[in-house]
């Protein structure tokens, strides 16, 4: 058994809060630069320039890339041979709270979803996976709610045609339209159960944007960019930077499909202890 003190987890999470909120992911920056180069629409180009300038200014000034510093979601990949000395969940939440306070981020969490009340820095959401080995990987995704509000789930028939599924995904992007800060990254979860499809769609946002995409992902990206929504919904060829699918075995009676949209300010950071 490898022992890790809970305080180490707290410190790591505090560092992730800074990394994710001040420094835009390299793959996102690179995708945005490519979009900027490919864009012919003058206004869209101007908007993409502002987005790139914003990332540079945030990095330089140590300011949040976006004022919506999200609902902090922490993904833990926990090696089964790790023993945490202390309270893991409390340590993670403490790291979030300390980081959000220290770096002057936004207290966007209300304890009671119905009666709302005073906004706080926590609790964050924690998803844990038990994996082989003796290491622990922590990933922070501060998910903004402008785009989270546009999430969709549909339970398809198992005999559904791929065309219907594509239409549903593209329609989800059209429904988000100009509201959720395009160009988007589209996470799609296919299979599992209703809840699991939603989690996969969310996790798909963590995958690095690259040129290695499946045919279905490429097809969907093309269809989404053909909508012409463009940056800020004011037209252009860049409605999405990428489409990422995650699939999982499912039941003979069903075919869950979930779409989780991220704004262009897709922020996340990871650390392995």
């Amino acid at each position: 058994m490898r022992k890790i003190e809970a305080i180490k987890i707290t410190k790591a999470v505090t560092e992730l809060v800074k990394q994710a909120n001040f420094f835009l992911r390299r793959d996102i920056l690179s995708a945005l630069r490519k979009s900027y180069a490919a864009e012919k629409n003058i206004r869209a180009k101007k908007i993409l320039k502002a987005v790139l300038d914003n990332a540079a200014y945030a990095r330089k000034q140590k300011l949040a890339i976006c004022q919506d510093t999200g609902l902090p979601i922490i993904f833990i990949e926990m090696g089964q041979d790790v023993l945490i000395k202390g309270d893991l969940k409390a340590a993670v939440n403490k790291g979030v709270e300390e980081g959000y306070k220290k770096y002057s981020l936004r207290n966007s969490i209300v304890s009671d979803p119905l009666n709302r009340g005073k906004s706080k820095f926590s609790p964050c959401l924690i998803h844990t996976d038990i994996v082989k080995g003796s290491r622990i990987k922590l990933t922070l995704l501060p998910k903004g709610f402008g785009c989270e509000n546009k999430s969709q789930l549909k339970m398809f028939k198992p005999t559904a045609d791929i065309k219907e599924i594509k239409e549903f995904i593209v329609k989800a992007v059209k429904d988000a339209g100009p509201d959720a800060c395009p160009p988007y990254v589209i996470g799609v979860g296919i299979g599992g159960t209703a809840d699991y499809a939603c989690l996969m769609a969310k996790k798909a946002l963590l995958r690095k944007i690259s040129t290695r995409n499946s045919k279905l992902e490429k097809d969907l990206l093309k269809l989404i960019n053909q909508t012409g929504i463009g940056p800020m919904g004011l037209g252009g060829v860049n409605t999405a930077l990428a489409v990422h699918l995650q699939v999982h075995p499912t039941h003979i009676a069903g075919l869950p499909v979930s779409v989780n949209i991220s704004c262009h300010a897709l922020r996340s950071a990871s650390i392995t202890l």
Binding site: N54, L63, C66, L105, N107, M232, G233, G235
Partner: protein, 166 residues
């Protein structure tokens, strides 16, 4: 303020002057206050409301990251505020058909600004202080003095919208 009526959807302008931040909970409270006949904490006549909830203000800075939030969430509250003199709104994304109609009726204007660019937009804020509802934290109403704040006219006083054209 007269100039506002001459603005056309699609036009880009730079705004200098006073604006108030207000988002979901502040809108709910302003609405309740109007409906119960009490006095509003800010003067709505001729006011510009910015749908924004900034981060905490870092030490030595005037304001933190302060970009626009999704305007459509405020759609149900907007007609009443416009009827009480609200002149302009700043946010991101499209508005409902009803809001478009009341903007035309009251000769208001709806602007959008660079979405997801809260760090950059903080550069154009020269003063910031709490004007009302401090207990709402990031949803409090702030009075901001802005200089050359970049805006795009999204719905003009004639009800023309930039989104229909795309």
């Amino acid at each position: 303020m007269k100039e506002i009526n001459t603005l056309k959807a699609g036009q880009e302008i730079f705004l200098s002057g006073t604006i108030y931040t207000a988002r979901d909970q502040a809108h709910k409270r302003l609405t309740e206050t109007i409906k119960s006949g009490r006095r509003l904490p800010i003067e709505l006549k001729g006011a510009i409301i910015y749908y924004c909830g900034p981060t905490q203000t870092p030490k030595g800075k005037i304001i933190g990251s302060c970009g626009p939030t999704t305007s459509s969430r405020m759609d149900t509250f907007t007609p009443l505020l416009l009827s009480r003199g609200l002149k302009a709104m700043i946010g991101k994304g499209d508005r409902s058909k009803e809001v478009k109609e009341v903007i035309k009726k009251y000769k208001g204007v709806y602007f959008v600004t660079y979405a997801g660019c809260g760090a950059l937009l903080s550069k154009f804020v020269k003063k910031a202080k709490i004007a009302a509802y401090s207990e709402l934290g990031p949803e409090a109403i702030l009075k901001l003095e802005v200089k050359d704040f970049p805006l795009i006219v999204a719905i003009d006083a004639n009800g023309r919208s930039i989104y229909g054209k795309v």
